[in-house]
């Protein structure tokens, strides 16, 4: 131990400790306890993951509240693993798309499509593969779940990073070129910092959406393949199976606690830290703050931990520069020819893929099935549309009311974000109990479930929009005594519109995804179904009918793409063109 050693090196260290240069202060102690506890938990959780699958069968999830913290930990770790995967994906794929024009030609539309494929489909198709990969270990099921969570996060993070890379400030790019920064230096000094605020925000949004899938992915049955991983999700599944209301309540409490802790210890500090990367030359008025970040910054030890990393980063050899996409093409004719060839190859692969899917689906299904899937699609489409309208009618006025009152919006905003992150599938049992008790029509009364979790996106975006309405415009509206409807028509609706579109777009995407879980619910032995594409896919999954899952997912994908391109994008463009303030 340092304190007993007599050699000079340690004596020197000791002396520095004594001089309090290195000595921990009380903040160090608190931070160390928190970080140390996290490390122990991570190690514990990770070793559990690798247990043989036999253990899983012999020790299934037990509905014992004492075990709940451990299950919560396992769920959190899954989320963590998925986030890391998503970040790796983002940095590699989005960078490739931004740097290579040809790669971008394929990757960007691909992300657009991947974004609209329902996440549970990914799970259905990959579960068998991953379990086959590690047949004797829990790791296979673990991988399948993590991959499912990954698919709910990665695409929009990659999009955000890609967009940042494409909109780098030209003068800083010129400085980097003029000083001949290597690609690594360029990435670390320019690209990554510039992209950080948008990426952090998108990661947060992704996480919020993906708690839902953490719950869904832990207890999943696709045909005869069953995944049951220790976690809050499988606890919930067991509770539903047994009809144990108390256990469901426990799950709600545990989930709430997990999201709260994640938010306070991970995301708020990161958001507060990322504020310094905002590309603005003025200090922001109300900087995001985090008590945990301030605590870490006040410690003596933690700021030092970064140093060796920084040294490693700057010691990374100067990688050769990737070809700049801006430089003039050496031979335009040849370039054009290559482009055509490349596009030709891409088209060929796409046509082959369509053919392969058609053949696969056609083996067991007929055109009539396709038509019925389309019909179900229309039903779910109507549900999503009607519910978005209803949610908008409810939340827009409330959001505006809150947004115009800063004291309120500061308090409500985190609550709305919390609600958006909360996986509503945990609450489904209560709704089912209600429907059964009052003998309600599931076709109608299951519908609200698909927007239960996603309506909050509309609320907090509208609150954000209303709170940045320029004060002078509001004052002008006051001076000229605009009547209520006139004020809404000429000031409030145009002002919040871009924000509303963002919220509604997110809500609609989330709702399509939620429909698979929401249109097909169970409670003990009661099974409720609402006719729609969601229940179509869900029942296909329960039966392990892969062609049907593929068909249903393709139809959902088509609907989502259609809605994005014919409804939300035009609204976005209109807002960007006509409703910009300033």
């Amino acid at each position: 131990m340092v304190f007993l050693s007599s050699d000079r090196l340690n004596a020197g260290l000791l002396a520095r400790f004594a001089r309090r240069e290195f000595a921990p202060n009380r903040y160090d102690v608190i931070a160390l306890v928190l970080v140390g506890a996290a490390a122990v938990l991570v190690v514990h959780g990770a070793t559990q993951m690798n247990l043989p699958v036999a253990t899983l069968r012999t020790t299934p999830v037990v509905l014992d509240p004492a075990r709940l913290p451990e299950y919560a930990l396992r769920s959190t770790l899954r989320m963590f693993a998925a986030i890391i995967l998503s970040l790796i994906f983002t940095f590699s794929v989005a960078t490739l798309a931004a740097k290579s024009r040809r790669a971008g030609l394929v990757i960007v539309p691909m992300l657009d499509i991947l974004q609209s494929i329902p996440i549970l489909t990914f799970l259905a198709f990959t579960t068998a593969f991953f379990i086959g990969l590690f047949p004797h270990s829990e790791l296979g099921a673990e991988c399948a779940a993590i991959f499912g969570i990954f698919t709910s996060q990665a695409w929009n993070m990659a999009f955000s990073f890609y967009q940042s890379l494409r909109t780098l400030p030209p003068d800083l790019e010129e400085v980097s070129t003029q000083f001949r920064l290597s690609s690594w230096q360029r990435f670390m000094k320019l690209e990554l910092p510039f992209a950080t605020p948008a990426l952090v925000w998108n990661t947060m949004m992704s996480m919020s959406g993906s708690w839902f899938f953490v719950v869904a992915a832990e207890a999943l049955t696709v045909g005869h393949q069953t995944v049951a991983l220790p976690g809050i999700g499988s606890w919930l599944a067991l509770a539903i199976d047994r009809g144990d209301v108390r256990a469901v309540v426990w799950a709600v409490v545990a989930m709430g606690a997990v999201i709260l802790i994640y938010d306070q210890l991970l995301f708020r500090p990161i958001v507060a830290w990322a504020d310094k990367f905002r590309f603005e030359m003025t200090a922001s008025e109300d900087e995001p703050r985090s008590w945990f970040l301030e605590l870490l910054q006040r410690t003596r030890l933690f700021p030092r931990i970064g140093r060796p990393f920084r040294a490693i980063v700057s010691a990374i050899p100067r990688l050769p520069r990737l070809g700049s996409s801006r430089s003039v093409a050496a031979n335009p004719a040849l370039e054009l020819w290559f482009d055509r060839l490349w596009l030709g190859v891409v088209f060929a692969v796409a046509i082959w893929a369509i053919w392969a899917i058609t053949v696969y689906v056609h083996r067991t299904l007929t055109l009539a099935d396709a038509f019925s899937a389309f019909g179900y699609g229309l039903l779910t489409f109507a549900r999503v549309l009607i519910l978005i309208v209803i949610a908008s009618l409810v939340w827009v006025p409330i959001g505006v009311w809150i947004g115009l009152r800063p004291a309120w919006s500061q308090r409500i905003q985190p609550v709305a974000q919390f609600l958006a992150a909360f996986p509503v599938n945990i609450l489904f049992p209560f709704v089912v109990m209600g429907i059964v008790a009052f003998r309600l029509n599931p076709d109608i009364w299951l519908s609200p479930l698909i927007i239960l979790g996603t309506q909050w996106y509309i609320l907090f975006n509208v609150v954000a929009g209303a709170s940045v309405l320029p004060n002078d415009l509001r004052e002008a509206a006051g001076i000229f005594r605009l009547r209520t409807w006139q004020k809404w028509r000429d000031l409030i609706i145009p002002g919040i519109f871009p924000y509303y579109v963002t919220g509604a777009l997110t809500a609609s995407g989330g709702s399509w995804n939620a429909s698979i879980v929401a249109e097909f619910v169970t409670w003990k032995h009661t099974q409720l179904q609402a006719a729609g594409l969601g229940s179509f896919i869900a029942s296909a999954m329960a039966a392990g009918d892969f062609p049907r899952i593929a068909l249903g997912s393709t139809v959902i994908c088509a609907f989502v793409l259609l809605m994005n391109h014919s409804l939300w994008r035009p609204m976005y463009r209109y807002a960007a063109k006509n409703l910009r303030l300033n």
Binding site: T177, Q178, R180
Partner: protein, 441 residues
């Protein structure tokens, strides 16, 4: 820094030689925009050379070509006197927008170039602190750019450029984003450092559109024409430093440069003349009608009485040459004024305009617009001929692009829309991009 030593061994061999430089932006099929045409430039040790011209004269493109940021279409650029062979480039650059990394401290921003060169951390720190010290930034090492004023930010930009010890310093309108007082202080500080030989650089190339700034700082000024950018004059400035703006010789030189910048056919006859009958090839500059009216009033007002000296007028109105000249030329184009050498003289129509009320002004403006701007007359004729009295704007835009490149066509359309609206000769609807005759009732 060991600069004095470096400068003592200088010879008169040119540092930079630019020969027959031509740069065309945009389309590969040859219909691009020629921003630089046959430009020659020699930069020798111990001189500050100014590139003076209006926006669009390609002076920034020339600077960026020398910095290696742009590969010109044709021509050669030779940069001699690389100090040592390990340094990447003998040039360094200061940007108009400062181009500082908001997430790096002053010290990290200044270190950037050295880090890229792989200079060891300890030496890097030493050189950085020396540069920060030299430029008067000590005490601000750990500040972030957003905490600094504009002047301090540009000092960081300057320190960052100097720390890599370039032999040539390129400056792209370095003071134009600053207020007058700050710009003056920074200019003086830079000139002091230069004359005392405390900077490593051996030559400065500065882009500016401010004539006084060029005369204050430069030993030699190259005046550029615009569209395409060519060197139309080379002026040697022999006034001793420090120079005084109020000195008659200084004033005379500024006036002379004004005259040279205006002494050219204001209406680009070549493009106009090629298409007799239509006259659509006339590129317009978007000048607000309020500005035109203000200019007429200023020239008509008391001390001027309808005749004004352009340089004096610019001082009176606190405008740069490149702001003033397009206004004057638009007045000339519409026959409201004549420019002779460096004086501008109002025509009787402009005097009537000055005395008129709002409606009469509009009528007068409409008459001149229809009579002297062929595009306005053309649009009006098309609208009159059509039964619907409507026409999509793309139609005219396409016609313009037969004669000029896209950015010019865009600006010309902007100008015609705003003048036409003021004159009430037609209406334009932004939503669906069309012209019509209907009055917005």
């Amino acid at each position: 820094m060991t600069i004095a030593l470096e400068r003592s061994v200088e010879t008169d061999a040119p540092l930079v030689e630019v020969r027959a430089l031509k740069h065309v932006y945009g389309k590969g099929n040859g219909a691009g925009l020629t921003v630089l045409d046959d430009v020659n430039l020699t930069l020798r040790p111990n001189e500050i050379v100014g590139l003076l011209g209006r926006s669009g004269s390609g002076k920034s493109t020339l600077l960026r070509s020398i910095a290696g940021l742009i590969t010109p279409t044709s021509g050669t650029i030779t940069i001699k006197d690389m100090p040592g062979d390990d340094t990447a480039h003998g040039v360094s650059m200061v940007f108009q927008s400062f181009a500082l990394f908001p997430w790096l401290t002053v010290q990290k921003n200044v270190e950037l170039g050295l880090e890229a060169q792989g200079v060891p951390a300890e030496i890097r720190r030493k050189r950085t602190l020396a540069a920060i010290d030299l430029i008067g930034l000590d005490g601000f090492e750990n500040a972030y750019p957003k905490e600094l004023s504009g002047g301090m930010r540009q000092r960081v930009g300057l320190a960052r450029a100097l720390v890599v010890q370039p032999s040539i310093l390129l400056m792209d309108e370095p003071f134009s984003a600053l207020d007058v007082l700050t710009a003056e202080t920074l200019r003086t500080d830079l000139l002091d450092l230069w004359s005392e030989g405390r900077m490593p650089i051996r030559s400065i190339l500065i882009v500016t559109h401010n004539i006084e700034e060029a005369v204050l700082m430069c030993d030699r000024i190259l005046v550029f024409s615009s569209n395409p950018g060519r060197v139309i004059a080379e002026i040697k400035v022999d006034l001793p430093q420090p120079r005084n703006r109020l000195e008659p010789a200084f004033r005379a030189l500024v006036d002379d440069i004004y005259a040279r910048m205006t002494a050219r056919p204001t209406v680009p006859a070549a493009r106009d003349g090629n298409f007799p009958g239509t006259g659509l090839g006339l590129a317009l500059t978007h000048v607000s009608t309020n500005t035109l009216a203000g200019m007429i009033e200023a020239i008509a007002a008391a001390p001027n009485d309808g005749v004004a000296d352009l340089a004096t007028l610019a001082r009176e109105l606190q405008m740069e040459a490149d702001e003033l000249l397009p206004i004057a030329e638009t007045l000339q184009l519409m026959r409201f004024a004549e420019i002779e050498g460096r004086t501008i003289r109002l025509n009787p129509a402009a005097r009537r305009y000055d005395a008129a009320d709002v409606d009469e002004r509009k009528q007068l403006f409409a008459q001149h617009l229809l009579a002297y701007v062929p595009l306005a007359a053309h649009i009006r004729r098309v609208l009159d001929d059509r039964a619907s009295h409507q026409a999509p704007a793309t139609r005219f835009r396409d016609e313009l692009e037969d004669f000029m490149s896209e950015p010019y066509a865009e600006e010309t359309m902007d100008a015609i829309v705003s003048w036409g609206r003021y004159a009430e000769i037609f209406a334009y609807h932004e939503d669906d991009d069309r012209f019509s005759l209907d009055d917005p009732a």
